[in-house]
């Protein structure tokens, strides 16, 4: 079941993130069922799967919003379980949200400055008195924020409240808010959801820029198979909380289990011996998965 094949240059390096036999359940519902994977520094790791497969839940486990009932999650060798969300962020993990979670009353600039929060050393008393140190710090962090504003072309939206801006721009601000943290790991939850082809291409370019120019390790959850197959170094596929495949995009595309999960199979659901059905579907499936013109478009909640 676990076809772990990773790009050759990752061999021999310590993983940045490890997911070890993680299980997350809500009452009777098992959202994540015994999932394991490793993400290596510099990698662009994608997680795909049908709706409700547990992709966003995986992110929520990493960022401390959900608490898995079993297993281990480590980041740079440190156990993340039990840490509150803000402590996990302080370790260098930033994320964006599937549904835009900007602070609607704050301007673009203030939204991005909240992203710098963990890098400040001031406290409420120094902030209130606003002499010397607090002011110098504010100026220094403003400089970093302006670099990201430049990187993402957000100049013209700087002083506008986030809720007044178009959806595509809000998505970009959210990416910026994650980037200003100078994270070691970036979790992107459906960055291209709800975007047209042109906007999707912009997002893809930014994701590649983040990888190539900033060198940040990324985990990407995305329904747009074109984006995933073109950008990702490695892909893990979840279905009903279980990992059914992992490997390079091309390998995953032709994996019988993946095709069954996305396209359904007429016979032998749940068995391991679906080779005949899988082989059949593989030919039709290859055309469907990974083809931008015929996208798997299930953009709802996962």
């Amino acid at each position: 079941m676990d076809t772990t094949a990773r790009s050759g240059d990752d061999q021999g390096r310590a993983p940045l993130v490890t997911f070890e036999d993680v299980t997350l359940s809500f009452e009777g519902l098992v959202a994540i069922d015994d999932v394991s994977f490793e993400v290596y520094p510099g990698q662009l790791f994608a997680i795909i799967g049908p709706n409700g497969a547990g992709k966003t839940s995986t992110f929520n486990c990493i960022s401390g919003v959900y608490h898995p009932s079993a297993g281990r999650i480590t980041f740079e060798g440190r156990d993340l379980l039990g840490l509150p969300p803000h402590a996990i962020t302080e370790l260098g993990i930033a994320r964006t949200f599937q549904n835009v979670e900007l602070f609607p009353m704050l301007t673009t600039l203030d939204n991005l400055l909240v992203g710098r929060h963990v890098h400040y050393r001031s406290n409420w008393l120094r902030d209130g008195i606003w002499l010397g140190r607090a002011r110098r710090e504010e100026v220094a962090h403003r400089g970093r924020v302006e670099e990201i504003i430049d990187f993402l072309d957000l100049e013209s939206f700087r002083d506008k409240p986030a809720s007044f801006l178009p959806y595509g721009v809000q998505k970009r601000i959210e990416l910026g808010r994650a980037l200003v943290m100078d994270p070691k790991l970036l979790l992107l939850d459906e960055p291209a959801a709800g975007m047209n082809l042109e906007e999707t291409e912009d997002v893809a370019r930014y994701i590649l820029d983040v990888k190539e120019e900033l060198g940040i390790t990324q985990i990407l959850v995305e329904h747009d198979m074109g984006v995933v197959m073109d950008l990702a170094d490695e892909v893990a596929v979840l279905d009903f909380g279980r990992k059914i495949a992992q490997g390079r995009p091309a390998e995953v595309q032709s994996h019988p289990e993946v095709i069954r999960a996305y396209l359904g199979a007429s016979t032998d659901v749940g068995g391991d011996g679906g080779a005949a059905a899988g082989g059949d579907a593989a030919r039709t499936g290859e055309a469907a998965i990974g083809d931008t013109t015929d996208r798997v478009t299930d953009g709802g909640a996962s």
Binding site: G64, P84, P85, H86, F103, G128, I129
Partner: protein, 358 residues
Amino acid sequence: MPTTPLSVRYEDDLRLFASVWRRIGIVLLAVGVVAFPFVVDGRWVMTANFALVAVVGAVGLMILTGFTGQISLGHAAFLAIGAYTAAVTGDTFGLPFWLSIPLGGALAALVGLAVGPFALRLRGLYLAIVTLGLVFIVNHLLRAFPEVTGGLSGIRVPMLWWFDGPRVGDATWELGPLTLASREQLYFLFVLITVGVVLFATNLRRSRTGRAMNAVRDRDVAAAVMGVNVARTKLEAFGISSFIAGMAGAMFGYVQTFITIDPPFNLIMSIEYIAMIVLGGVGTVVGAVLGGLAFVAIGPIAEHLLGGLPLLSELSSSQQQRLMFAVIVGAFLLLEPLGLYGVWIRIKIYFMAWPFRY
């Protein structure tokens, strides 16, 4: 506007009074504030003193409710703690006001930090109800120890310059042609405190702490994932807010010179402060200042306007004031939810776009 200079450094962009207009405005305001007690009738100086108390109290509530989004009906309790601290430390121990005011703030902040943890688990109306309980608990405690607090018969609030020393207003100051009696001295002391509190809140709003508070108000889960310690931010808001409320309470005691428990420190006072920040504009320091000033100014205006009307003239002056205030706040909620601050923004935009409509 050509008078707004192009900022080339981030320092310039962060300045409070960057444009020429703002600098002219602040100088005019300063001149007006200093000249005020010498050009108006003495009764209005007294009104101004109450207004300054309201401004300080409203800024305190603005930090908790406006910045951090924690609705509190317990504001009157913090004011009561501040006022009674000033009364007891002044009357019994002979402490000077410049010690009593921060002491009142500190004691109120302690109680605020004790109530704060409720906000970690409760939101919205549930938090409002818990903080409402605080008003009754504090009132009960003040009544339960009459040997300390004077109980139902009330207590004097002496405002001393020095330990067991002379009181503020004992001596009338002569500055050339100007005379500063008790209420003028109080006025200038209160102006200093108010300016300090307003600056503190403004700085908070434009720095890391204030942004964290706003983030918690708007989306607390996202705030936590951005690295904001939500629990700590809420507690900071409670602590700072109740400290300022305690200071406002002490100031209130000094204007009254003699205080009782209920009235004035009851649920109505808490609601009045919420109405003030709604009237002024939730989420802004300017809103708290405008709301506090407007609230106190409405009293004399209401008396003047409603006094001549049938039926309404039979109400007591405080009833008239409350009626007028209720109508105005209701109208603002319906017509301009951003409050007086929103009105000000509209005026500004109108003149910036002039002679065009928009």
